[in-house]
């Protein structure tokens, strides 16, 4: 079923699938992402969750969702999605369940599960061409346990396990894993990056994804005020800056064909994004770590040059 793309904020569905009053932190970029994703998906879904901050959204006997929910474990939400999808299919096939009762199956994980522990079960689900959605809200560290380094942590970020010190002044010395490309190598029918600051782009991507059977995957870079050391009121601005500086490339891949959906006319300097985030403060004070700042900028430029969107 093809849905027309929406053109204005007024076209964003007013219906809320997730209600207010969750225990998420103020200014949680992940929650804003999820809210928009659910507006696009509707409530005839079952969320299969891996251990992450959002596991604590559903605490007995309350859930903020209008839809169904299954918490699995940290490593195997995609396998849980496999079980639910297969069970729904086989029950409907055998006439044990009315097809009206069918649900879309949606995996919801943070970056810790998506980039690290759950990679094997994700690869399995992609390999089996499982018909499901996968939403990873990526705050670039293990947020729920107090912001330790994950495979998604970028170069130069301070985390609880990459504290800048005399011998390791830059914090994380490893660049961020490219999960988009890892997923893309499995050739899923639909794959996209999204941002809570670009809800039209986000919702239209879900609409396009909905035309495909098989894995439909989304990664959202999401500001995390307690982990990033930022004020909750700045989350949307920071998400926007991540795109405007080119740090977070908004794109999609349909059957492997990559297209950038938002390309800034002029890229802002990456420093504008880094400055003001507590996790990068050591790169500026007490002394500027020029080499690291240059390397971060250079990596961003290199990405866009590679895609011939920066000359």
């Amino acid at each position: 079923m093809k849905e027309e793309p929406i053109k204005s904020f007024r076209d964003i569905p007013g219906d809320e699938v997730i209600f207010s009053g969750t225990p998420a932190c103020a200014g949680c970029g992940g929650l804003l992402t999820l809210r928009h994703c659910l507006k696009a998906l509707g409530d005839r879904i079952v969320i299969v969750n891996a251990a992450c901050c959002f596991t604590l959204l559903a605490i007995y006997p309350l859930t903020p969702f209008r839809n169904s929910w299954l918490y699995t474990a940290m490593a195997s939400a995609p396998a849980g999605a496999q079980g639910v999808r297969d069970a729904l299919d086989v029950l409907i096939e055998k006439g044990k369940l009315d097809s009206e009762e069918d649900l879309k199956v949606v995996v919801l994980t943070g970056d810790g599960s998506a980039y690290d522990m759950g990679l094997s079960s994700t690869s399995g689900a992609l390999d089996r061409d499982l018909d499901f959605y996968y939403i990873c809200y990526d705050n670039e560290a293990y947020g729920n346990t107090g912001f330790q380094k994950s495979g998604a942590t970028p170069l130069g970020s301070k985390t609880a396990t990459t504290p800048p010190g005399k011998r390791h002044p830059m914090g994380s010395e490893l660049p961020k894993k490219d999960l988009f490309d890892i997923w893309k190598s499995h050739r899923p029918p639909y794959l996209a990056t999204i941002s809570p600051a670009y809800p039209l782009d986000l919702i239209n991507k879900f609409r396009r994804a909905g035309q495909h059977r098989g894995p439909k995957l989304f990664i959202s870079l999401v500001p995390c005020p307690p982990g990033w050391g930022t004020d909750p009121s700045r989350s949307v601005d920071l998400a926007k800056l991540s795109v405007e500086t080119g740090v977070w490339a908004l794109k999609e891949a349909v059957s492997g064909e990559v297209r950038h959906t938002v390309v800034p006319k002029r890229f802002k300097p990456v420093e504008e994004y880094l400055r003001g985030q507590g996790r990068f403060a050591h790169l500026f004070r007490p002394a500027r770590q020029e080499e690291t700042l240059m390397e971060i900028q250079e990596r961003v430029d290199e990405y866009w040059r590679l895609h011939k969107l920066l000359l």
Partner: protein, 408 residues
Amino acid sequence: MKRDMLTGNAAAAWGVRLAEVDYVPAYPITPQTEIIETLAKWISDGMMDARFVSMDSEHSMITAAGAASATGARTFTATSSQGLLYGFEMIYTVAGWRVPLVMVNVSRGLSSPLTLEPDHNDIFAIRDSGFLQIHCETCQEVLDSIILAYRLAEDEQVLLPVMVNMDGFYLSFTREPVEIPDPEEVREFLPPYRPKHAFFMASRPMAQGVAVLGGSAYSYFKYQMHLASLKALEVYGEICAEFEKKFHRGYGPVEGYMLEDAEYALVMAGSFSTLGKKAVKRARDRGIRAGLLKLRLLRPFPEAYIRRALEGKRAVSVLDQNISVGKGGILYSEVASCLFNSKKKPVLLSFIGGLGGKNISPQEFEFIFEKMIEAFEGGPSGPHLLYTEKEWDDISILKRTAEKEGDA
């Protein structure tokens, strides 16, 4: 009803086929693989109306199986040894979901050292998880237990997953005559699963597997599982009575062999019980009033049955085919705990044997009975780690080859 010569693995596959399961997520591991291969073939040939999916690990497999069960499908999967441990986290998780998943574990010793042959450390690793455990001695028992397991797991008073255990090689790859019940009769005994408790459907959104805050909610749900497991003992009795009426094969939570008038009793579980029964017969021929208690249901632990069976005996030997390193036999501890407060408790001895599939020879059984008679007359000895002189000579040769000759 028909009769066939089936391996334990083939008997397991037949149990699953007769239970008319909807879904089989699978992952191979020796010595279990024949079960899933057989099911894959039947499903591919259209002889079984189910969906089969090859998973990427046992952790994923048990997650998928539990999730399918939570969706409302009758689900089966099987594993063994390292696979069970790889999926260990999900064993506890799925038990907590209170879904009626049935699994088979084909017991195999745990690495390291890496080995293929059986002992029960793998199945006892999940002892405290909430899975019910049925331990099988024969291939017939494997087939029947799977059908019983679904009835038990799906009973609303239970709603806990069940693990049916058989020994690798000794049962999994050994052909025995097996009666394959008539599908229609099985259907009467085990009607299709209609979930009332855990399911996913659009018209009735449900949150499953949710977190709790604080110890009081956590304790409540754990106690619920425990009480349901204890309740399962009663339900098991009722189900088995019905099964026996229909199929003329009875399975108690424990089975006594020449036990009634016995003075000296062995306690065993699994396929090695057959060796124990032979030893009991030989001991009787020598004039020892010997008997054997086979434990079939290990979770829930049939305490009252065990107490009743062993009270008043002169001496009892628990023969553990497992070892809790630094403590000893797991079943010994469990049997001891249920006899401790009894006024008619026997002298209780602990023997470890059959680790990694090591044989238990007639001489070793003779040694066990000698020790029991000694214990009755002069007090207990042990615990004893069974190892024959021949085995000692054999390992000495291996050690010489490994240039570890001088080491004790």
